[in-house]
Amino acid sequence: MSAMADRIPEIPGFWLIAALALGTIAVEIAIVLLSWARLSRQRKAQARATDGDWQAIAALKPPSRLPEIIATLLPIAVAVTSAVLVQGSRNLLASALNQSDPTAKVLGALRAVNGELNAIAMGLWVTPPTFVAGCIAVALAISARRRAVGLRRAESLAARHDDASAWLKFPGPRAGVLLAAIGAFIVLGFGPIARAGFAAIATTISHFAAVTGLEPQDKGPIFLEGLVRASGLLDRGFLLARAGVAVAAVVALVLAWGFSPARARAGVPGGSRPVHGEGLFGPIVALGVIALAVAGFLAAHR
């Protein structure tokens, strides 16, 4: 533990990233608890409405989108902050290599590379837990919001003496299904590349450590070997991650089809009628994400 504490000064922005990650996880837990409470209140209201008492559903507040938006943005903020800190070390390296004094050049460059490797390792440690917590919070928040909307729809149908049984029985997506679909992308897509990142950093650091005390002409080959090994690990992780994203897409499709509340409602005799007014917020965000992804892809492959 003390060895860990000694290294804190070597990790750029340690306290910033640690505080941000811990704060994120705390907020995500709060969103999970809030959504959990909403879902259990909904279950009770649903049971009472099945017995003919619609008061409890009428009393349900329509949850806002804010929790799911916060739950999505916070882990991304942690990842971006971590990337900015790593980039800071890379900029230090570039400026160190431009120095004319050879000693200052070598010392500055070594400090920058050390900082960079530590910043990447720190980022790989703290970012995944925030994404896992975020994934759980987003799934629960979306489920709580969609199911509340569905239950209120059932209530308005019942108020007009229409058949509300389909909406009452299948008000919206189940949290577990959403969690599995979102989690598939996180675990199968980002899992392999994060794991490979760890292994690559460990390999680079161990080769870095191995060259200390060697003659300058002997350092080169060992150092190069470390870099080649690290790159190989990352390349393999990247292939696995790509395959993982494809598998996750199939998993999400199967879950969306198999557990579709709309399909379940259609299966209730006399129950389902198309109800419009789901809003365009979701599709617009989805189209925006696709546009950003295409732009990001083109920027990365210029």
């Binding site: 590349i193 990142g197 690559a200 350092k219 994203v245 696709i290 992804a293």
Partner: protein
């Protein structure tokens, strides 16, 4: 949520994950080119 909506969300999620993995890979791969600066 109807299937068309779900499909759109899945396409968006897949695109985001695909590009996210790409960016992360490129970002982690950079120490290699920086590291090579040290080679004699």
């Amino acid at each position: 949520m109807d299937m068309r909506r779900s499909l759109l969300y899945i396409v968006a999620g897949s695109a985001a994950a695909w590009v996210g993995v790409d960016l992360l890979y490129n970002f982690l791969r950079l120490p290699d080119s920086y590291g090579r600066l040290f080679l004699p």
